[in-house]
């Protein structure tokens, strides 16, 4: 078990290294300079700045500095807000940055996973029933319509027209302020879980070993909870890792809609200010999360599926 985790971790390191290399070379090998066009700067100041950011060094040395900083958990400094550490922007001491995004994503996952699984299981158990058809239609609609459309429409309905929930703002980060954003994310990502669960349980219930369980005279309840639930959930787990990352990304889009002070605002500002270092940091951090979640999924697989153990 521990050996397995170590092995996977060792495999993840080169992946992360190459991602950093790709992103870093993209930023640093494209023509142009982050401080170009800042006309107000005197040549001396510009030179000092370039020195401060190691931009006067050859590419490989710059890369070495960057990797070295990354290994110490340091994303470097913002190009726009001179002297401002990116770590403080992404992980501020007060509520903001990544913490807002994480908070929103966690709330959403807490709804998405159980609701998606329960809906999927029920739809699969009562295949072709009215409930099943309802769930399937729901899945088709909300897997097609993105958060950036459902978000504003829900605001128009619940905040602007009926004044039930606030249209924007983070408040104290409680459920009252986060209800609409969480709803938006839940609607967008419940189908992902639900479709997989439904397909999976239908396949499992048609399998030979469930027929054997029926032939033994086991009740439906025992068949579902003892024999069917584990094989049903295994494909669901495989979508959980990529999904958590998509929820994070979706959360960033949703933050835009609801003006929440998370990574989304940070990304927009970085994009409009052409703050490459900040975008690069967010991209690399996102990749890091992606790899970590895929690792977690692999470990869960390992625990749940006896066939992987050797």
């Amino acid at each position: 078990m521990i050996l397995f985790i170590i092995k996977r971790l060792l495999l993840a390191i080169p992946t992360l290294f190459f991602i950093v290399l790709i992103v870093f070379s993209l930023v640093h090998l494209t023509p142009g300079d982050p401080f170009q066009g800042e006309k107000a700067m005197s040549p001396e100041v510009l030179k000092a700045l370039r020195h401060q950011y190691h931009l006067d060094l050859p590419f490989w040395q710059q890369f070495f500095y960057y990797i070295n900083n990354l290994m110490h958990g340091d994303f470097g400094q913002s190009y726009k807000f001179i002297g401002q550490s990116i770590n403080e922007l992404i992980f501020p001491d007060n509520m903001g940055g990544f913490w807002v995004t994480l908070n929103l994503s966690l709330y959403s996952m807490l709804i998405i996973i159980p609701v998606g699984i329960v809906l999927g299981v029920y739809a699969g158990l009562y295949k072709n029933s009215f409930l099943d058809k309802l769930v399937v239609t729901f899945n088709v609609i909300f897997s097609a319509v993105p958060t950036m459309v459902t978000g504003p429409l829900l605001v128009l309905l619940f905040a602007v027209t009926f004044h039930i929930f606030p249209a924007s703002g983070y408040g104290d980060g409680g459920l009252y302020n986060l209800f609409l954003p969480v709803m938006v994310l839940a609607l967008a990502y419940i189908p992902t879980i639900c479709v997989v669960t439904r397909g999976s349980i239908i396949e499992v219930l048609n399998s030979n070993y469930i027929r054997t369980a029926r032939a033994k005279g086991l009740s439906d309840r025992v068949i579902i909870f003892k024999h069917a639930i584990r094989p049903t959930l295994i494909p669901v787990i495989s979508v959980l890792g990529p999904m958590f990352v998509s929820v994070l990304v979706g959360a960033i889009v949703t933050e835009q809609v609801f003006a929440l002070p998370g990574l989304g605002i940070l990304t927009t500002n970085a994009a409009t200010n052409r703050d490459y270092n900040l975008i690069m940091a967010i991209t690399i951090f996102g990749s890091f999360l992606t790899i970590i979640f895929n690792l977690l999924v692999d470990i869960m697989y390992f625990v749940l599926d006896p066939r992987i153990k050797k």
């Binding site: 399998s207 030979n208 070993y209 469930i210 027929r211 054997t212 369980a213 029926r214 032939a215 033994k216 005279g217 086991l218 009740s219 439906d220 003892k226 024999h227 584990r230 094989p231 749940l304 599926d305 006896p306 066939r307």
Partner: protein, 317 residues
């Protein structure tokens, strides 16, 4: 004498393109302490017949007729009542042992389930009994095998586990649906020997299904020959082998590969489409002895001495 009797059983499946006539009006009796064979090509309805006994047909199945176990009607009884019978008084083993056991649960969990459910054993008693039964079906090192997962055992071994699981509750009827088809030939013989032995040791009736008439002739006491959902001929093994009356049975016997000659005698043509069966005998298209009556939708059932039954228009007597 008869422990299970099936009367006028009809099984249809509603599919997108119409109605599949899987089993058409069959009747048969299973006697105490006998091995009853059902032989037929795939799609002849033999598996659907036994699945109907176990209440395991697909949801889109339409069933009529009657299946009586010890004079208790099985068709239409509640699921709770059915669950008291299946796995307890009637047990079943399946064609593909590799997929018939749950890959996510170890052998022990699956093996002791019937004892805990039907016999209210304590867990430790159930394990002891399971080990005894694994020994009986000649699995060595049974105690360690209990901790294994299905993927760690071979197909022949898994089929023995399935048999042990079926026998644990000492059922009155064992249904074996192509138990050896997915196995190697050498393992096949071992499993068939085991089934033969069970009849003596457990005093139970067995229904053995196979598409291989050789297997059936080796093991069974009486044989039903099925084709396209109808029972074409039924007799004891001796009569089927030496005095077969139905053209289909004769063709089947002739098609057995023979060591003395290299010539194979396949049955020409294809089985009829179960969506639109011809009127009368379903074998008429491929029958060598077809005559006017057959195409007019006439399909006569006849019973001879010694329980020999045929479903054919030919007058053999």
């Amino acid at each position: 004498m008869s422990i299970l009797s099936i009367n006028d059983l009809v099984i249809k499946f509603a599919v997108e393109d119409g109605i599949v006539h899987a089993v058409n009006n069959i009747s048969l009796e299973l006697n105490q302490n006998e091995i009853l064979g059902i032989v037929g090509e795939s799609g002849s309805g033999k598996s659907q017949t036994v699945l109907a006994i176990m209440g395991l047909l697909a949801n889109n199945a339409l069933i009529s007729g009657s299946i009586k176990f010890n004079n208790q009607e099985l068709l239409g009884i509640s699921k709770a009542k059915l669950n008291k019978i299946r796995g307890n008084e009637i047990a079943m083993i399946f064609q593909d042992p590799m997929t018939a056991l749950n890959p996510y649960l170890n052998i022990q969990t699956q093996l002791i389930e019937p004892l805990l459910l039907h016999r209210c054993y304590t867990k430790s008693d159930a394990i002891a009994e399971a080990i005894r039964m694994l020994d009986f079906v000649k699995i060595h090192d049974a105690r360690n095998k209990l901790k294994c997962y299905p993927h760690q055992l071979s197909g022949g071994m898994l089929q023995r586990v399935m048999i042990a699981m079926a026998l644990l509750t000492k059922p009155k009827i064992l249904i074996a649906d192509e138990p050896t088809t997915a196995l190697d030939v050498t393992v096949q013989t071992e499993i068939l020997d085991l089934i033969n032995q069970l009849k003596v040791e457990f005093n139970m009736a067995t229904i053995l299904i196979s598409h291989d008439i050789g297997v059936i002739l080796n093991v069974c006491d009486r044989v039903n020959v099925m084709y396209a959902g109808s029972i074409m001929e039924r007799a004891n093994v001796h009569d089927i082998f030496y005095k077969a009356k139905h053209p289909y049975t004769k063709a089947l016997l002739k098609s057995i590969p023979n060591q003395e000659s290299d010539i194979l005698y396949p049955i020409s043509g294809e089985p009829p489409n179960l969506l639109k069966l011809p009127n009368g005998c379903p074998f008429q298209e491929r029958c060598e002895n077809k005559f006017s009556k057959c195409t007019q939708g006439i399909f006569i059932k006849r019973e001879f001495s010694n329980g020999h039954y045929i479903n054919c228009n030919l007058d053999e007597s």
